[in-house]
């Protein structure tokens, strides 16, 4: 009996149990410091649907041995290009959202190929190189956002200027198209059903992919590239495919984020998207070399839970607004914690 408890604890992992208990304690404290539990739970659920797909996008690259995708910005930028193009075309509602996805996928494939070829040349240092790829591509796009010939008055700088604004509202176009689908309120808790359904669909697609021949080869490539190549698998090709898939999911992920959040954030904003996603995945129990869909779901929930609850509870305790500072401390602290906890990927 005692052994089976310890076993199941070890299976879930101490970090998740500790963070889970911490999160639970936040919900217990919340009503006593004047934070509404109902609103908090809604917040956690909504944020979960925003971020889930972005975290999921890391999975293929981890599985193929490319490590954590610190260059997530590349996929995000493909998504942003899809988003602004869709708004430029001006179609609203779910169709507009689909057009955004449709436009972003070719960009994600193109960027993914270039990025993947680069990563194949720097085996062993993927994560460091990826970080710099992320930085560079954001800087490059800072120029492009000004130069690209978008004309929609909803997006360009005021007074007939040229170039895109830093924040573009999607309110008139496809705000909450997923989240409001079949959504309902129960006991003061808003449940974004559509968001969950879409996330579940994406998870299902990824899960099915990893049951395929290619998906199996990809997992083996990450587990032991020499074994895979001695089994006749083209290791470089598998890695390239994983990077492309990761980029596509990331592009879709940012669009999901935008439809929920209500704004397209350009310029420096994508720079800060990679770390929270990676932190969530690591928190979910993934390592640099291994990750599962369960890691994605658990990690996103715990991470977004902590990120929502901690600032609001602490703010109410110390009676001043420090939410952003606390959010940064918590999210980066969790990255550091997760990276120190990671198992040695190989050998």
């Amino acid at each position: 009996m005692k052994n089976s408890i310890i076993e199941s604890i070890e299976k879930i992992g101490w970090p998740r149990i500790i963070i889970g208990l911490f999160l639970a304690s936040m919900f217990v404290i919340a009503p006593f410091v004047g934070v509404s539990v109902g609103t908090s739970i809604s917040d956690v659920l909504v944020r979960f649907t925003f971020n889930g797909v972005l975290v999921l996008s890391l999975l293929p690259m981890v599985k193929s041995g490319c490590g954590l995708n610190f260059g997530l910005q590349l996929g995000i930028i493909s998504g942003l290009l899809g988003a602004v193009t869709s708004i430029e075309i001006g179609i609203t509602g779910f169709l507009g959202f689909l057009i955004a996805i449709g436009v972003s996928i070719p960009f994600a494939i193109l960027f993914g190929i270039i990025y993947g070829l680069l990563l194949n040349r720097v085996k062993g240092d993927e994560m460091v190189v990826a970080t710099y790829v992320g930085f560079s591509v954001v800087s490059f796009m800072n120029m492009m956002w000004l130069l690209l010939p978008y004309k929609s008055p909803d997006m360009i700088w005021g007074y007939g200027g040229t170039g895109l604004r830093t924040t573009i509202s999607v309110e008139k176009y496809w705000f909450h198209v997923l989240n409001d689908f079949l959504s309902f309120e129960i006991g003061g808790v808003y449940v974004p059903t559509g968001g969950f359904l879409f996330f579940a669909l994406m998870c299902l697609i990824v899960w099915i992919f990893f049951k395929s021949k290619t998906g199996t080869a990809m997992t083996a490539t990450g587990s032991n590239p020499v074994y895979a190549s001695s089994s006749g698998v083209n290791v470089n090709k598998m890695r390239l495919v994983s990077v492309i898939i990761s980029s596509i999911i990331a592009a879709i992920g940012i669009l999901v984020y935008e439809q929920g959040f209500g704004f397209i954030q350009l310029y420096m904003a994508p720079l800060y998207m990679a770390f929270p996603a990676i932190a969530a995945l690591l928190l979910g129990g993934a390592s640099v070399g291994k990750a599962t869909i369960a890691n994605v779901i658990i990690g996103t929930f715990l991470f977004q839970g902590i990120l929502t609850m901690t600032p609001s509870v602490i703010n109410n305790i110390i009676k001043s607004d420090m939410s952003e500072t606390i959010r940064i401390i918590v999210s980066n602290g969790m990255i550091v914690y997760a990276l120190t906890r990671r198992k040695k990927a190989r050998g």
Binding site: S212, K213, T216, Y227, S230, S231, V233
Partner: protein, 535 residues
Amino acid sequence: MESNEVVLKVENIGKDFFGNVVLKSVSFEVKKGEVIGLVGENGAGKSTLMNILFGLPVINETGGFSGNFFLNGEKAHFSSSFDALDAGIGMVHQEFVLLPGFTATENILLNRESVKDNFAVNIFGDRLKHLDREDMKKRAVNAINKLDVNLDPEMIVAEMPVGHRQFTEIAREIDRSSTKLLILDEPTAVLTESEAEIMIKAAKKLAEEGMSIIFISHRLHEVLDLCDRVLVLRDGNLVFESESENTNPREIAESMVGRSISDFEHTERKKELQKDLLEVKDLWVAMPGEVVKGVNFTVKKGEIFGIGGLAGQGKLGIANGIMGLFPSRGKVLFKGEEIPLNNTKNILDLGFSFVSEDRRGVGLLLDEPIDWNITFTAMQAHERFIVKYLGGLLKFRNDKEIRKEALKYIDMLQIKCTSEKQFARALSGGNQQKVCLAKAFALNPEILFVSEPTRGIDVGAKELVLNALKKYNEESGITIIITSSELEELRSISDRIAIVNEGKIAGILPPSKPATDFGLLMIGESNINGEGEIK
């Protein structure tokens, strides 16, 4: 210049690594100016003995050694290699220990540079002294001249040919004026023949000047040419000691491999093997440490073909090269048709299969379950265990079939595990090896390469693995090419055995030949006066 002054006296030295005895009470003496040749198979204990003499920390860390040795009559006990250097032992390693970006002079005099004073020394101490480049060059040239070789003292090590690097190492030991005993660990292994000759000449000259040398080599003719006395180690015992003049290669080879012949049985095949299945012509493989330099052999259908030889001679490169794991060139004919090299997928498609000598590195997915390990290659290469949808457009793995196949082999090879979902990492070495075999069998190959199938596994598992191979060969008529360092293992299972020496096949013999003949081939003495088929 041989005198009766004893430089090194070794008394009853023994050593075990956690119960695994590698040296048993070895005793010998080295006189001043004498050159001793030390020969033995891999694992005979040569390196361990030298590590003890040179005071490497690995010896102390693993519980020290028994017995004593005396340098110039004084009992020596080194806690580190620095003590050994101070006491006058110099060692030239098999792998070069040089700074590639530094010149020959700088390497020779590293940490023993000539220095000049300057004003800063008065304030900050000796560590700020200047290098006296001119004097350093003089000393380096002096050491090089002692070797009687042509070596530019200003040349950067990275730009040197291998031979010159070796000379730089030796010159470094010579410059140390205290060096009385020089240990040369396979110094000629990486040299060309002409370089080796110069090297031998240099060693002879040093001996004439009174340096004592312990020379370790697999090249027997060099040992007999250079050394005054030859010692042979086998399984940790000093089994043979003789003046060079009074012995010959055959005698040395015999004592090197000389196990009793009775402990192996080989059952002759009832049927003659007729058809040629695989023909290898002039195969070159660039596998680091196991370079193959043009081998030729033919394997018959249904045969078990053994490949043996000492470590580093290239025997492992052959299978790895044909399977496309390392760049190779040459001609390989399978059923009379030439097959493209350097294409693993293609080779697997043709019905080849490979059990790697690097079990954990190449052979297994350590962090995946056993059933994946067994079926993955067959799934990827032959599309077994796959369900197809939309006319083959979508291919998914068939987890049910995978499980069935895994359970079949777990039962057949008696793989000890909790379930077919257990990770390969958690298995013992022997069971991991069985998983590797199962992986190869699951491909239903026509020809199976097995490298070092029994390395690092216990006796019981060894027998099971060898029997499984034999049974598989008999029942399904599969052709097996087995590479192993253990001659007895090869002799017990193979129909013919090729011995690889210096990247080439030294000879192919039937297992019934005496062990001595194999031993001679291993050390590159191919002029056997027997019936052996020599290429």
